[in-house]
């Protein structure tokens, strides 16, 4: 239990300790987590590209240039053109919007739903926990891509359905991790105290348990970001995701499969974009985990 004197001491310490400039914080962070900072830089670059696509993309990603079909990289088209003469660089830049939209929506919705279910399951326990965990077991029995494929096959292709297909397998994964942490927290005396004071279940869950499982939640969220981008690309590659002419990396890759022998750039650059973004999100996610999980920090 935290005493008043300890709180005061901490507050006094904060007043005395000089605030570090943000540049120093960045330098310290890059010393401690160089790979994480590199990952973050990729993520930030992606976000900027997506946000400023209208400004930074050299061409309209839908604009066909039939006189330059399957042209190699050149001054006019830095990364070359595809089978319709569309600029690959512009389509990659606009494609990052699709990737980030799917990545963030799926990761946030999937992990948040998992957080709610995991904490509720741990808190209420009993039959509710038992039933919920068995339902989650059913979902977890299927590999991620198979479950996503089954959902898209049922709902049909399209970006909204792809997001549903990705979110569904994420929920049980996050719920299971969060539940194991929440089970330990449930036994801590302050939860008993809150219950003894007559607080509602919702208040206990939201005010006392959820903040204490934020570390695994954030770790799962950052892990899901990369996974969601990869899954969206996989589903689009299989023709079940985003459809032409919307620019999307997986779709660019599947269209490239007909032409890559004579025009390798149509496959290379979307492939690099997918790999790099997933790599960036994974590095960033690993660093978040290292920072938030004290057990791993010391290893």
């Amino acid at each position: 239990m935290v005493t008043v004197s300890e709180v005061q001491t901490e507050a006094q310490f904060e007043e005395v300790a000089p605030k570090k400039p943000w540049t120093q914080i960045a330098v310290d962070l890059s010393r401690k987590q160089p790979l994480g900072v590199f990952g973050l830089a990729i993520v930030v670059a992606m976000i900027i590209a997506a946000a400023l696509a209208d400004v930074v993309a050299p061409y309209n990603p839908l604009q066909e240039h039939f006189d330059s079909m399957l042209s190699g990289p050149s001054e006019d088209y830095l990364l070359g053109t595809d089978e319709f003469g569309r600029d690959i660089l512009s389509r990659l830049i606009y494609g990052s919007r699709t990737a980030l939209l799917v990545g963030f929506v799926c990761a946030i919705v999937g992990s948040t739903a998992g957080l709610v279910l995991g904490v509720a399951s741990a808190y209420f326990g009993g039959l509710f926990d038992l039933m919920l965990q068995r339902i989650l077991d059913v979902f977890m029995a299927f590999p991620l891509i198979i479950l996503a494929l089954a959902v898209v096959a049922t709902l049909g292709p399209g970006i909204e359905n792809v997001m549903i297909a990705i979110i569904l397998p994420f929920i049980p994964q996050c719920a299971r991790v969060v539940r194991s942490n929440a089970l330990a927290i449930r036994e801590i005396p302050y939860v008993d105290a809150a219950r003894a004071l007559g607080f509602s279940d919702a208040r206990i869950i939201l005010r006392h348990m959820v903040p204490n499982v934020m570390a695994p939640y954030l770790i799962m969220l950052t892990t899901f970001l990369g996974q969601a981008i990869l899954l969206e690309a996989s589903l689009s590659f299989l023709g079940l995701g985003v459809q032409d002419p919307i620019p999307a990396w997986g779709l660019m890759l599947t269209n490239a499969s007909e032409f890559f022998e004579g025009a390798p750039w149509v496959a290379i650059y979307p492939g690099v974009a997918i790999s790099l973004s997933v790599f960036g999100f994974n590095l960033f996610g690993d660093s978040v985990r290292d920072v938030l999980d004290p057990k791993l920090r010391s290893r």
């Binding site: 066909e64 319709f84 459809q243 499969s257 007909e258 004579g262």
Partner: protein
């Protein structure tokens, strides 16, 4: 030399030139044995070809069945060379002023389950095709508008009586989807039994299938043509991705793909395999259409449909898309180059075929504005087959964007695509095709009539004038007048009412392993697929 003969000669010369790299054909003695592996770009929606019109069903299933008559497999480019398959002798000449055809049926022909074929089987088959009961789909029943009755006076005779004499009857009869079924099967198992079951008299017996993977056939020892087939069997491998199909041939996992590859893939294979690959090329009796769904309010105004066709740069598309897809020729409703089909001078008078693209698109924008549909948003339903559907679909969306339309694309696998197009009619505009087998323009253009079994534009009963024009065409015996009526029909269907939008006609390129012998390219990917002539020179 008649126009038809000149046309056949031109096709044959064209094909011959295209096959020049392989040198002149030599008479070789066929070798027996071996299994032909070929690759198919989609899975058959069902095994009943009376209701299907996709190569995905024809290629794996056709070898299990026989036809009453068929296109001569040694001369498949000819639109007039037919031979008996289940009938005796040569194709009969009509009697009764061209209104009666009497076929003598071969004796002792066995179905794969041991039943003996009789004239009753042929009659039951054609009754199912021509006048199916309510609820039974027969997509080509419009081909047989001239047929009055089909009867079997005895076990070995089939008589077709026509309402009026027409040269379109025999080519229609040779349609390769007219698989002859057993009357007993139809009676005992019902009209949908053949969708999932096979019992034919063809050169090969059904030996199994794995969904999404392959269909197997083995030699039918009691086949009605002595000494055939040459192959022990075949395996039809299914792969949606063009790259995989090309690699299958390159790696010799498959010897041929009967549908056709784009020019680029042909060049890659020739460069990689040299003399081990043989290329056959031909014009293709197949055209990709876009079909506005007139059941939807947004597509009911002819001005909107006219705008859709006016936006399309067909002449430019021919030049550009032929580099990456299996499409090439600009044409109207009939097979380009056929004497009954439109010339370029005639085509440019239609909406969407003019050479002044800018003017066409301005007119399109004006029509949309007049109809109160400027900036219209809709969805294009497309089939999940790379060539040429997805490429042409994406190209069309780009063309429509030029007149301010916002179009998204919904790509579905073959089976769901057909379900949306034919049954649920859940589409605004859909890609569709008019791929016919035997070149028979008078019958082939029936697709554009609203009442046709294979018309999905939802304008049945909404354009009687077009129906009347087609009825006039099919009854007309004079070639010159037929041609004039075809132009009137073309203008009505494609330009004035813009019921359908013709995109580009296909161009067939078949690179195959040189050891595949006995197969000759036809102007259709449906023709010459019985495989009884095919052998392997290994």
């Amino acid at each position: 030399m008649s126009k038809y003969a000149r046309f056949a000669f031109a096709l044959a010369v064209g094909t011959g030139l295209a096959m020049g790299a392989g040198g002149p054909a030599k008479a070789e003695t066929p070798k027996k044995g071996g299994t032909l592996n070929f690759i198919v770009a989609a899975e058959a929606p069902s095994y009943d070809l009376h209701k299907e019109s996709t190569f995905a069903a024809v290629h794996p299933i056709r070898p299990f069945y026989s036809l009453l008559i068929r296109v001569n497999p040694d001369n498949p480019q000819s639109p007039t060379d037919f031979q008996c398959d289940l009938c005796v002798g040569s194709v009969p000449k009509p009697t009764d002023g061209g209104k009666t055809y009497t076929f003598k049926i071969k004796k002792g022909v066995k179905f794969h389950d041991g039943q003996t074929l009789t004239a009753a089987d042929v009659v039951a088959t054609f009754n199912k095709i021509i006048s199916p009961p309510e609820g039974v789909v027969s997509v080509r029943k419009a081909f047989y508008k001239m047929v009055d009755s089909v009867t079997a006076p005895d076990d070995e005779t089939v008589v077709f009586k026509l309402k009026f004499p027409t040269g379109a009857f025999i080519p229609a009869l040779a349609t390769p989807m007219n698989h002859v079924y057993s009357a007993k099967d139809l009676k005992e198992h019902g009209y949908s039994w053949h969708e999932k079951n096979v019992n034919g008299t063809g050169a090969f017996k059904f030996a199994g299938a794995v969904a999404g993977s392959h269909v197997d056939g083995v030699r039918f020892e009691n086949f009605h043509v002595k000494g055939k087939p040459y192959l022990d069997g075949y395996r039809a491998l299914i792969s949606r991705k063009l790259a995989i199909r090309v690699q299958a041939i390159r790696g010799d996992r498959a010897a041929i793909e009967f549908r056709g590859f784009p020019p680029k893939q042909r060049d890659d294979l020739v460069a990689a395999l040299g003399k081990d690959i043989t290329v056959q090329e031909s014009d293709w009796n197949c055209v990709l259409l876009f079909t506005p769904n007139q059941g939807r309010p947004i597509m009911q105004d002819p001005r909107v449909r006219q705008a859709l066709t006016l936006a399309v740069d067909r002449w430019g598309g021919s030049q550009h898309l032929s580099r990456i897809a299996i499409v090439k020729t600009v044409g109207g409703i009939g097979f380009p180059g056929h004497p009954l089909s439109a010339t370029k001078a005639e085509l440019v008078r239609l909406n969407g075929y003019g050479t002044d693209l800018k003017a066409s698109r301005e007119k399109a924008k004006k029509l949309l504005a007049e109809a109160g549909k400027a900036g219209l948003k809709f969805e294009l339903l497309n089939r999940g087959t790379d060539q040429p559907y997805k490429i042409v679909g994406t190209w069309l969306i780009g063309q429509w964007r030029q007149i301010g339309l916002e179009v998204t694309q919904k790509v579905e696998p073959t089976k769901s695509f057909y379900n949306s197009l034919r049954k649920t009619k859940e589409f605004d505009v859909s890609l569709d095709f008019n791929c016919q087998s035997v070149i028979n323009p008078i019958v082939d253009v029936s697709k554009f009539v609203g009442s046709a079994g294979n018309n999905y534009g939802n304008y049945k009963g909404k354009d009687q004038e077009l129906e009347d024009i087609y009825n006039q065409l099919i009854k007309e015996g004079d070639e010159k007048k037929q041609r004039e009526i075809m132009r009137v029909m073309e203008k009505r269907a494609l330009s004035d009412m813009a019921h359908e939008g013709v995109t580009l006609w296909w161009y067939k390129i078949n690179p195959h392993r040189s050891y595949v012998k006995g197969w000759k390219i036809a102007p259709s990917h449906y023709l010459n697929q019985s495989l009884d002539q095919v052998w392997l020179d290994k």
